[in-house]
């Protein structure tokens, strides 16, 4: 603890003494910038994608702390502590927080935010972040800023609205700014040679009013959709679940890609709900996004149009997807995709 405290003191005191009375006055009016990055974990394993919160926190400047809670969090905390530029990891070990139930996780965060006197709190705009952070914001009487893609300064943020069809720049006047970030806009920080202190957080032990019953997660050896560098996505054109699996999965395997789907494909039962890409599903921005049998409705484009390279295979030459695709192939996907799969395999 002490080295960290000295470091905080040192970095704060330096400029104050140097610049004299006016700087001192300014700093008294305004708290020093300090950010709490919320890290996700599961069964003691740190969700590495949640380290994006550190990247955003570092962009803000000021001190950066991390927060992790669950039944066994020491390994996850140690791993996060290796991220350079992070001062402290606050860990709360209690089975009650393992599933991230908002009814007790939100008061837990509120207590730790108050104790640390943070000016900013950042979490990913993930299922967890979306569930918990607004509850935290309400308890702190702060208007959350959701799904930001860029940080101008400590109070000015950029976020997409209308399914990404407009980009809003907003300025927050709240003393504590609760923020969720779009993961694809902030690359996860990598644990390297950092040596943040791991400290025990406050545990108010609030009761959860909900009980976690069960979960059913799609198991797959393929890369995770949200963070994959390549994504192949299928749409209504695949016709059935059997065809979806027969055509799309070998292509995904040949490319080492994650599998995504349009809403039409998900609604028709061709693919699992969790694979939906779009405004209401996942937002992805891989190096390569290959859209197969997807027309390109605005809700779908909302989830993938920041991909580096977009390829499309569709039999309708007028499909809107071709307006955003870097390379398009007009043709029957049942012929073209297997041919493509073979050519990728043999190259």
């Amino acid at each position: 603890m002490f080295p960290t405290a000295r470091r905080v003191l040192g970095s704060a005191a330096g400029p104050l003494l140097g610049r004299g009375a006016s700087a001192l006055g300014r700093c008294r009016r305004r708290r020093l910038l300090s950010t709490l990055a919320i890290l996700e974990q599961r069964d003691g394993q740190l969700n590495l994608a949640s380290l994006s919160a550190f990247t955003a926190a570092k962009k803000l400047g000021g001190t950066v702390h991390g927060f992790v809670a669950g039944s066994k969090v020491s390994a996850a905390a140690e791993q996060a502590a290796k991220v350079d530029g992070v001062e402290q990891i606050i860990a709360v070990e209690n089975e009650a927080y393992e599933k991230g139930l908002p009814e007790n996780y939100a008061p837990l965060l509120v207590e730790n935010i108050k104790k640390g006197n943070y000016t900013h709190v950042i979490s990913g705009h993930t299922a967890f972040g979306k569930n918990v952070l607004p509850r935290v914001a309400a308890l702190l009487d702060s208007q959350q800023i959701s799904d930001i893609t860029s940080i101008h300064d400590e109070k000015t943020f950029v976020r997409p609205i209308y399914a990404g069809n407009a980009i809003a720049t907003v300025e927050s006047s709240d003393p504590v700014r609760i923020i969720t970030i779009r993961g694809t806009a902030f690359a996860p920080a990598t644990p390297e040679s950092g040596s943040a202190a791991v400290v025990r957080g406050v545990d108010p032990k609030p009761e959860s009013m909900t009980e976690w019953v069960s979960e059913d997660l799609a198991k797959s050896d393929r890369p995770d959709l949200a963070t994959a560098s390549k994504v192949v996505a299928g749409g209504r054109g695949l016709k059935s679940k059997e065809d979806f699996d027969r055509v799309m999965l070998p292509l995904a395997d040949a490319l080492g890609a994650a599998v995504g789907a349009s809403r039409a494909a998900v609604d028709s039962g061709y693919a699992d709900n969790s694979l939906q890409v779009g405004q209401t599903g996942k937002v992805v921005a891989p190096q390569l996004y290959m859209a197969v049998g997807i027309s390109g409705a605005i809700q779908h484009l909302a989830g993938m149009k920041d991909s580096k390279v977009i390829a499309a295979i569709n039999k309708d030459a007028d499909a809107p997807i071709f307006q955003v695709a870097d390379v398009g192939l007009v043709g029957d996907l049942f012929e073209k995709v297997p041919e493509l799969t073979e050519k990728i395999k043999s190259s």
Partner: protein
């Protein structure tokens, strides 16, 4: 089990099929003369409420379904739609054309409304498709001190006020159980909303629609976020088409994607 008194907040938004255009002054998205309708996720909330009654899914029955919306005079159109779908009555919190509320203010408004209406279940959409914040339901639950079940794809009622909700989460689904009173937000997979039929639209005109103002709830439209500007996203240029699979592979290699 307690009889359900369901509050269903609905929002009037630009129709989901319309491509939004940023106005010339870059202050907002152009809304004048653009088709509006009920936020799609809110249609799911209304549908779910009505189904709970029709299919007698809750052991205690449904005593009341009240739709509520804060918005300009035209927000009444979507409250009428909610009533045509089966809501019993509606509350319109009147606002000026072009005036918007932030999610935190909406949550504060809904908290008071839920208390006044003695609601024990609030079903909201998981996000509005204009602002895409995905906050209001969670904020409301926090302010009320109620449990929350967000992104629900299935809601089941059990004995003793217990409600079991399947939630869409990253990677699959999760099931949680809580007791009433409860806040639920809807995911796309929850149900398929019905169309309001003409006879029901006619009947809805006779249903009760109370008009209130923010001041009636002891609130004013305090803004914590100032919109500095709204711009068009960077346009993406289609790169043209190739003749065959070889062309596709070649182009992808050229672009460094393979």
């Amino acid at each position: 089990m307690s009889a359900l008194r369901i509050l269903v907040p609905v929002k009037r938004v630009i129709d989901y099929a319309v491509k939004p255009r940023v106005n010339r002054a870059q202050t907002a998205v152009e809304t004048a003369g653009v088709k509006h309708s009920m936020n799609p996720f809110d249609e799911l909330s209304v549908e779910e409420s009505v189904r709970i009654r029709e299919k007698k899914l809750a052991p205690g029955g449904v005593e009341d379904i009240c739709a509520i919306s804060a918005g300009p005079p035209k927000a009444q159109d979507i409250l009428r739609t909610a009533m045509a779908m089966g809501a019993d009555r509606a509350i319109h919190v009147e606002m000026k054309e072009g005036e918007e509320l932030e999610p935190l203010t909406v949550a504060k408004l809904l908290k008071k409304a839920a208390e006044q209406q003695k609601s024990n279940l609030v079903i909201l959409g998981k996000q509005s498709i204009d602002d895409d914040s995905a906050q209001t339901g969670q904020m409301l639950a926090g302010l009320l001190g109620w449990p929350q079940a967000t992104q629900a794809s299935k809601v089941e009622f059990g004995e003793g006020d217990s409600v079991t909700v399947t939630r869409e989460v990253d990677g699959g689904v999760e099931t949680v159980r809580a007791k009433l009173p409860l806040v639920v937000t809807t995911d796309l997979r929850l149900n398929e909303p019905r169309f309001a039929t003409l006879p029901n639209i006619m009947k809805a005109k006779k249903k009760k629609l109370d008009k209130m103002t923010l001041q009636d709830f002891g609130l004013d439209n305090e803004k914590r976020l100032k919109v500095l500007k709204v711009t068009e996203p960077a346009a993406r240029q289609g790169g043209g088409k190739v003749e065959d699979v070889d062309g596709l592979v070649g182009k992808l290699k050229e672009l460094g994607a393979l």
